[in-house]
Symmetry: C2
Subunit: 118 residues, 2 copies
């Protein structure tokens, strides 16, 4: 079946959550896409989100160089969430850590799992 | 630092997205939690979501037996998304597939990656 980004289920704001996972299995981040950025991601092979804070297209790594090259896009059963398998250049997180999920909850306390990269 | 679920950033509806990943690295699903279900998940060790369609607490696997036992909860840099590392009993998806992300987009077409489990 041909994939049509218009068939995804977007929020009232026209957004769909997108999870980025690297080829080694690490979950790197979760951000949001619009129909337009889903199309751009598939067309260019470079993962492109929608920045809710800036209300603008966010070509991941455009300024930092920490681009995400799309290996495969996946759609969930409800068609309201995307999973991007990516080749991540450098750290994914704006804190310079590999993943945004660097804080674990252990015995009721926050534990930092990874340090910023040099 | 003590973890306080009240410090997470919830939507206007009081929700936070939660990604479930199994211990083998597979991303299983994305659903939503409330502050109350974050607390219940940590207290019980069984992953509990908020069902937006039913507007009710959703104790994953309560009727199907396909429970998610929490191995570790992680918080992202913006404190507006959670990652649950889980031990998944049976399939995570309501279609009886291991993961909800069973559809890949390849060359513009939808390709089914996994079949329902018996």
């Amino acid at each position: 079946m041909i994939f049509d980004p218009a068939t995804l289920r977007y929020t009232a704001e026209g957004l769909i959550p997108a999870i980025a996972q690297d080829t080694g299995g690490a979950v790197l981040m979760m951000a949001w896409m619009t129909r337009e950025t889903v199309e751009e991601t598939l067309a260019t092979g470079q993962v492109t989100y929608w920045s809710r804070s800036r209300q603008a297209i966010w070509r991941k790594g455009e300024s930092s160089g920490h681009v995400q090259t799309l290996i495969e896009m996946r759609v969930d059963c409800d068609r309201d969430c995307l999973l991007m398998i990516v080749d991540q250049a450098g750290p994914a997180c704006h804190t310079n850590r590999r993943s945004c999920f660097y804080t674990a909850i252990r015995d009721g306390a926050e534990v930092e799992l990874m340090a910023p990269e040099a």
